[in-house]
């Protein structure tokens, strides 16, 4: 499963449903396009024609090498607002600056969604989802073990029955009416309860 599908899946309903699989550039290629800058006629400094969401929020000039501008475009102010509320602009800048350029976009995405989780659930944040998933994995594994145990019992019974039938067919002049009824070797419900399932 590719990265976007994994990440989208993490935020999807935890049941069988199709996961959106968008086409993404290959690993190592910058996913966020570089912004084109326009040089102001009245200034010797290079200024961006539009400030990024971060610089708008922080009410400052957006320099050409703004660490935020590739990942917090001005058309999505909520994205930076959430991240700033939880982490603070300086912490986000430090996290991004410590990463290679080709990983910064993914880091900005994950910071946004963790911030989103924390704003939605201030007590548990994204850890609440992790806890829930652990519980659901445990429940699913328990159910799977139960079903596999039932399969094992039925499979064993089927083999016993098959062997018994074969033996009966091999006996010469066999009259089934004269044979006592034979109790089954395995009682599935007893086996399950004896094994705590």
């Amino acid at each position: 499963m590719n990265r976007a599908a994994c990440l989208n899946g993490a935020f999807s309903v935890v049941k069988r449903m199709s996961v959106i699989c968008p086409s993404l550039p290959a690993v190592g290629v910058t996913t966020w396009p570089a912004r084109k800058l326009e040089i102001s006629q009245n200034s010797n400094n290079i200024m961006s024609s539009t400030r990024c969401a971060a610089c708008k929020h922080l009410r400052r000039r957006c320099p050409s090498d703004c660490i935020f501008s590739p990942y917090f475009p001005s058309d999505n102010p909520q994205r930076f607002a959430y991240v700033h509320k939880i982490y603070g602009a300086s912490n986000v800048a430090k996290i991004l600056q410590d990463l290679p350029v080709n990983r910064q976009g993914e880091a900005a995405d994950s910071l946004y969604y963790e911030a989103h989780c924390r704003i939605k659930d201030p007590i548990h944040g994204s850890v609440g989802i992790i806890t829930l998933l652990h519980q659901q994995i445990y429940n699913a594994q328990t159910h799977l073990s139960k079903i596999q145990a039932e399969i094992a019992v039925l499979s064993a019974n089927a083999q016993t029955e098959s062997k018994y039938q074969h033996q009966v067919e091999q006996m010469p002049n066999f009259d089934s009416n004269l044979m006592p009824q034979q109790k089954g070797v395995y009682d599935p419900s007893t086996w399950l309860s004896q094994n705590g399932l």
Binding site: M1, A4, C6, L7, N8, G9, A10, F11, S12, V13, V14, K15, R16, V19, P22, K85, I86, Y87, G88, N91, I95, L99, R103, E106, A107, D109, S110, Y113, E114, C117, P122, I123, H124, G125, S126, V127, G128, I129, I130, L132, L133, H134, Q136, I137, N139, A140, L144, I147, E150, I151, V153, L154, A158, E161, Q181, K183, G184, P188, S189, L192
Partner: protein
């Protein structure tokens, strides 16, 4: 002339030690960041910042602040270990495991149904009924939460 100052605590909490400030009896961090656990606050401060932690705690009822602190410490720890994905990486791998388990459950149920269909049942007196009472677990019952109903990743 100095204004009224709060009395100093007996010993500074880990937060006030790191922030190099006086730890007062009403310090918000003191109950959750003891002085013998300096790394706990250091991690949270590095990722979130002390003022943001304070704001988050202020939004949470007092009886749930310890849970909030524990989750912040966990998130900070995971973020420091995986600066790119943080907790989202952990969620993605758990989600992948869930999908694998779903597939396993579907296959197991199909196998079980096959054995039930092909199991001989004796209905005479003294005979044996070889079809067990099967609790056909509904796969969907295992997974019943919906935190996000959208696919935010482009």
């Amino acid at each position: 002339m100095k204004g009224h100052q709060e009395p100093r605590s007996g010993s500074s909490c880990a937060a006030c030690k790191l922030l190099k400030r006086r730890c007062t009896p009403s310090c918000q961090f003191a109950p959750y960041f003891r002085s013998d656990e300096p790394n706990k606050f250091a991690k949270v401060h590095k990722v979130f910042g002390a003022s943001n932690v304070s704001k988050i705690l202020n939004e949470v009822p007092e009886e749930q602040r310890e849970d909030a602190v524990n989750s912040l410490v966990y998130e900070a720890d995971v973020r420091l270990k995986d600066p790119v994905y943080g907790c989202i990486g952990a969620i993605a791998s758990l989600q992948k495991k869930m999908i694998e388990l779903q597939d396993d459950l579907i296959l197991a149920r199909a196998r079980l149904a096959y054995y039930v269909d092909h199991t001989v049942s004796f209905s005479d007196d003294g005979g044996i009924n070889m079809c067990p009472v099967i609790d056909m677990v509904n796969v969907q019952d295992c997974f019943s939460f919906d935190q996000f109903s959208q696919f935010p990743f482009p």
